[in-house]
């Protein structure tokens, strides 16, 4: 087999989303990475965790007395 025949293969998974989540599927797809290849039940657990996570970034200044 020559080198050009070796191509990366993406794992295709088919999932049916509940209707209330289907609109957000595109936005949240990066979260699928850790769930790929696992059972559908696990996928939804990760999926829901991604939805419920607070924003990863945001400036939140402290007001502690240090001195």
């Amino acid at each position: 087999m020559t080198e050009e025949h070796i191509t990366p293969r993406k794992l295709q998974i088919e999932v049916k989303l509940p209707p209330q989540l289907s609109d957000q599927a595109n936005v949240l797809m990066p979260c699928l990475v850790s769930a790929a290849g696992q059972a559908l039940q696990t996928f939804f657990a990760v999926f829901l965790e991604c939805i419920s996570k607070p924003p990863a970034s945001g400036y939140n200044p402290g007001d502690r007395k240090r001195c």
Binding site: Y59, N60, P61, G62, K65, R66
Partner: protein, 302 residues
């Protein structure tokens, strides 16, 4: 026919070959180019040939070596605002000390780093040689003002200059999120203002800085695109495309001011990161040169 002006990189490459020269600056004067060669041993300098610049006029100047502006801890008194302990949120321009490091420097600028996952990480910008560990590229924590007080940031990423290579910067960022809160303010100490968007330093620009050793000082950019040799404790390092600043009536910096942000004094736009100097001149790296390589985003608060 006019001569091409040597690039900052060509100047730095030429500097790498010669131990006696500390700084090279190319100046375009009409259709001619003059290369200003600075060093502390004019006799040695005059013996050298500058075959890389065959059509340029070479001028020699006396200049002491540039040293990174690090101050060893132990004998200083914590009296002034910039050297005192600060309550949160800490305004930058203040003194910091790395754990396991017997020196102090300045936490210069509030910056926002865009992490690969897209998250905004609110950091302070200082010099690599301030945030460096004794044996590792970076220390584990930065304390303010000294290690007797709680840490304020965790070093995250750096531009570490290498000996015998042409370097662009000596810089480091440290994550200021500790215990769920950011320790720093977007404002600069003494100035009590937030920096504007970064700008490119140009010759004759009036600048200011707030640093740990000399506080608020004013100066003027006397050269850009300079190649400089900086005398680190473990050996010299060459930098290209640096900014040279002269103090207005008093020295612009002193040991301990490493890491200070240099601002356009009219707009308070960051133009450089102060990292070296001698008793006459101060060297800073253009802020955009650092920003691009460290993945910094502006403004600090989106």
């Amino acid at each position: 026919m006019s001569q091409p002006v040597p690039t900052p990189h060509a100047l730095a490459e030429a500097l790498l070959k010669r131990r006696a020269a500390h700084m090279l600056i190319a100046e375009e004067t009409g259709s001619n180019t003059t290369i200003h060669v600075f060093g502390s041993d004019l006799h040695q300098l005059r013996k050298q040939s500058w075959e890389e610049f065959p059509d340029c006029r070479i001028e020699h100047h006396f200049q002491r070596p540039f040293r990174p502006q690090v101050c060893y801890a132990g004998s200083f008194k914590i009296l002034e605002t910039v050297q005192a302990c600060q309550d949160e949120p800490i305004k930058l321009g203040c003194q910091i000390q790395p754990d396991h490091g017997k020196w102090v420097g300045t936490a210069g600028l509030p910056v926002r780093y865009k992490a690969p996952d897209g998250a905004d990480i609110y950091c302070l910008l200082t010099c690599w040689h301030v945030a460096a560990g004794e044996e590792k590229p970076l220390c584990r924590a930065l304390h303010q003002p000294t290690i007797e007080y709680p840490p304020i940031a965790t070093p995250l990423k750096c531009l570490e200059p290498r000996p015998d290579a042409v370097n662009l910067a000596d810089a480091a960022i440290a994550d200021t999120l500790l215990g769920g809160h950011h320790t720093i303010s977007p404002k600069i100490l003494i100035l009590e203002e937030e920096p504007a968007m970064p700008a490119t330093p140009e010759e004759n620009l009036n600048v200011l800085k707030v640093g740990r050793s000399t506080g608020l000082t004013y100066g003027v950019v006397v050269a850009t695109g300079a190649a400089v040799r900086v005398n680190y404790p473990d050996g010299d390092r060459i930098f290209e495309n640096q900014v040279v600043i002269e103090g207005s009536g008093e020295p612009f910096s002193a040991p301990g001011d490493s890491g200070s942000g240099v601002f356009d004094s009219a707009l308070l736009a960051p133009v450089g990161l102060l990292f070296a100097g001698n008793d006459q001149l101060t060297i800073a790296t253009p802020i955009k040169q650092i920003s691009h390589r460290l993945g910094l985003q502006w403004p600090f608060l989106p």
